[in-house]
Symmetry: C2
Subunit: 199 residues, 2 copies
Amino acid sequence: MARTPGFDRDQALGSLVRQFWRHGYRGTSTEDLCTTAALGRSSLYNTFGTKDVVYSECLSAYLADASTGFEAVLGAPGLSAFDKVAALLEGTVEQESRRQADGEPTGCLAVNTLVELAGDPAHAPVVDQVNRDTRARLAALATCIRLGQATGEINAALDASAYAEFVNATIVGIRVASRGGAGADTLRAIAACALRSLA
Amino acid sequence: MARTPGFDRDQALGSLVRQFWRHGYRGTSTEDLCTTAALGRSSLYNTFGTKDVVYSECLSAYLADASTGFEAVLGAPGLSAFDKVAALLEGTVEQESRRQADGEPTGCLAVNTLVELAGDPAHAPVVDQVNRDTRARLAALATCIRLGQATGEINAALDASAYAEFVNATIVGIRVASRGGAGADTLRAIAACALRSLA
DNA sequence: TTAATTCTGTACAGGTCGTCCCAGAAAGGT
DNA sequence: ACCTTTCTGGGACGACCTGTACAGAATTAA
């Protein structure tokens, strides 16, 4: 009883995510959004809403996708807690190198959001969105480390939540270095040094 | 033989640095620059030039100031190499906490520049500016670590330049966490975990 | 075929931004 | 006091941006 859209919503959202990821919120105009998603202005506004809303939805999609991979590693059967942390760091390195090679955007959209928009009251919602996601990630990481301490795989003298913060900070450092153009060997070196502090 | 300016150039530059630091390149308009520096548009353009030039000069001033503190730590007499690295990390934590308390901008302008402007060919010069500074910092850090290895203070099995990359990445992680609003205890935890990997 | 509903292209209003220009004010040297 | 040089305030201009409105095209169900 009505016309059907001439595009795939999820596919369009993927393009929008990559656009914001690479050029930031203020670095992309609404026309840029239309171009990368191959959408007219009307379709964009009817489907998603204003620029703020589009960004928030892109951030949600990005965080959901990242969480999937994150939880896949932490929930992997047959892996010790140490190996899970190692897989997390090495997975980050591998992901970044692959993205560099494929010409996909590098770095982390969550970090980019924090850097660009933190301190701007008008965009507090998306900053809170990132911080909530980070807290959840840290909690999951800390319980993983505590489990490893309970079974003796990880030094029980360490503060689990502090170590979770450290691992997260290292991942951030790797992603920023990658965005700066650092090579795969550099990223690998960072991850290897970080892992040494567990033993 | 001519009129004298009614403002202090360096003081104005300091205000401009803080403005860009807090709100980013695209997040500050030229009128914002005039307001924070208490300058008219003419004075701004006559003294510094276009927005790009102002940003580049702000970045230079920021990097020079950061380098001063960095080299002061690395060149401190009577400190072992390990203590120098520790002072570097703990100094970063202390600096960020103090800035949070004083309402000064948090995070790192160099990191912000990378995140916001990397991948935009029009701003490649400032990105290169940051990368050159980073390389110099990494080299100084690596030689410091090598010195510590030569005297036996630091595990000689470590790859010095890899460890330098790691320490730098950790500092980046601390600064990003601080910009995200993390408390002093969190930042301290990150630094402490990073230091553990030296022993 | 027809009617209802949704999608799409284009144009427009209101605002902001970056840059330049020009006249006048202020200060230093003579 | 006067002239030269520089600084300063304000405005102008073109370009861009965001969000909306509207008319026409397209598609589905009856």
